[in-house]
Amino acid sequence: MIFLKLIITNLMRHSIRTVLSMAGIAFSVAAMLTVVTILQGSVRMFSGILSSDSEMIVFERDVSDLFFSSVPADAASRIAALPTVQRADPVLFGIVSSAGHPIITCFGVTKTDARLARASWVAGDPGSFGQSQGGIVLGQRAAGFLKAGVGSTVPIGHSSFHVIGVLKTANGFEDGGVFMPLGDAQTFFHKEGTSSVVTVKLRNNNDAKAFKESVSALSGNLIALENEEFSHSYSQFKILKATAWAVGGCGLLLGGMGIANTMIMSVFTRIREIAILRVNGFSRLQVGGVVLGESALVSAVGAAAGLAAGSALLFALKNISALDGYIDATMQPLVLLVVVALALVTGIAGALYPAIYAMRIRAVEALRFE
């Protein structure tokens, strides 16, 4: 208790400096939490598109981006015919643009695709999908920002498409996207006879290994991965996640430097007091413990404030209508844990040099220069 009092007293002496250090950690934690959560949410949403009512994904081996993957239609048909497969949905991904909206995700799907079956149709007839040339279905958010509804004609790229339906999905990317019949999408993107991926639902989950072997045997150019396996190995996801942690880590590093600065100043301005503690029987470890304790307290309070600020920011972003559905602000417990742990470790690491300096103060020298 007396140690805690000593720690709090030391921090309260320079309250503005202490608050600034806490704010540094808080901003770092909030930034890291926000960036990591948003990017992980994006990864989750994209994974959700792929794993829609399926366990496996088949795509071209060694492609760095699924948009460049080509799965031939005959391979897709043979995959669908495998005995282990319950259903197989070929999907062609593309990026299209419309006036004022440079990036809209386009999904070329068959009319029996799980994504369409799972979505709730806000307008239009699900049975009409794929019945007419140039008929597309918009996600509800896409319909909103394109100001289009059933019967509208929407200019996309160098063509115009007729809106035959509007549907709502739980996935932000799908909700802000355009669904085209697979054949139309192949023509539009000049990828006749191919899809980007085939998402596969197995008859039995235990057949994953056998299915992978079947796909390899079918074509050496294709690879089948379980959804979770894909999420962990897909290089784009890895880059996104690494970027998120790197950006957050830089923020935290700055926060740690703030703590180091505060603790160095704190130790340098009370060398005599530390000498007195040593004379009164404080061991080097106890002196170091007081300094590290101060830093840990600053980091803990900063991290708590950062979590609150980050949560508030994510909540606000989630509720901005322009971003409706694009942001999955669900905070993962592991992310929270890692962010807080990193904040504490950074804070303590920032106080290591001041703590070692304090531990090395020779009482007799400090006392001589009274």
Binding site: R13, R272, V279, N280, G281, E370
Partner: protein, 232 residues
């Protein structure tokens, strides 16, 4: 030199220095030049002499805060230069009182005094009991929860004395303990210091400029230019 200063048998001396030399700045500033000193347990000894004569340095060496360049400092029969656990020594054998009380101004009297006891691993309850006794003996029982900033100079020095005696040391080293006090308060604090150390059987080694106070001690040692030049 030891013959000149009424040596006590080795077995009886609680503090013994033998030919102790100390200098600073790589020998440029010689502070102690061959100090031989023996102090019996429970005695109050005053070190007198002008500023810079080496009184404080001698106290630091006896307290284990520094090591001599040459010679030995022995406390309770142990050569301090060979002692491994100086923290234990400082916690249990030595109490320090300084001219500037050196208390933590933002803490209360009680918190300041509890610091050495808690650092030494004493339970809070035992430490508070000990402080309660000392506070009564020093007349500070009503000041326990006062911040140091709110205490007078004399009260601060009483607090410093309480803190120094918290772990029941066998030796109290006082460096000009009344140097910053007015004459009246100085006399009262000194009387208290002497009374407490005598009652508790603590050996007192005190550096002071005040010869009037020094004369009340069991022994008065006069130092000059890092040497003991006279003893009464």
């Amino acid at each position: 030199m030891s013959d000149m200063h009424n040596p006590v048998p080795a077995s009886q001396a609680i503090i013994r220095t033998r030919d102790v030399w100390k200098s600073y700045d790589n020998g440029a500033i010689a502070v102690l030049n061959g100090i031989d000193l023996e102090i019996e347990p429970g005695h109050a000894v005053a070190l007198c002499g002008p500023s810079g004569c080496g009184k404080s340095t001698l106290l630091h060496l006896v307290g284990g805060l520094d090591l001599p360049d040459r010679g030995t400092v022995t406390v309770k029969g142990e050569d301090l230069s060979k002692k491994r656990d100086m923290v234990h020594f400082l916690r249990h054998e030595i109490g320090f009182v300084f001219q500037l009380h050196n208390l933590i101004a933002d803490l209360t009297m009680e918190e300041n005094c509890l610091l050495p006891a808690i650092a030494a691993g004493r339970s809070r309850k035992a430490a508070k009991e000990r402080l309660g006794q000392l506070a009564v003996q020093t007349g500070m029982q009503d000041r326990l929860h006062h911040r140091i900033q709110k205490l007078s100079g004399g009260e601060r020095q009483r607090t410093a004395i309480c803190r120094a005696l918290m772990n029941e040391p066998s030796i109290l080293l006082a460096d000009e303990p009344t140097g910053s006090l007015d004459e009246r308060t100085s006399g009262a604090v000194f009387e208290l210091l002497l009374g407490l150390t005598r009652n508790q059987g603590v050996t007192l080694l005190m550096a002071t400029h005040d010869r009037g106070l020094a004369q009340v001690c069991d022994r008065m040692i006069e130092m000059h230019d890092g040497r003991i030049c006279e003893e009464r």
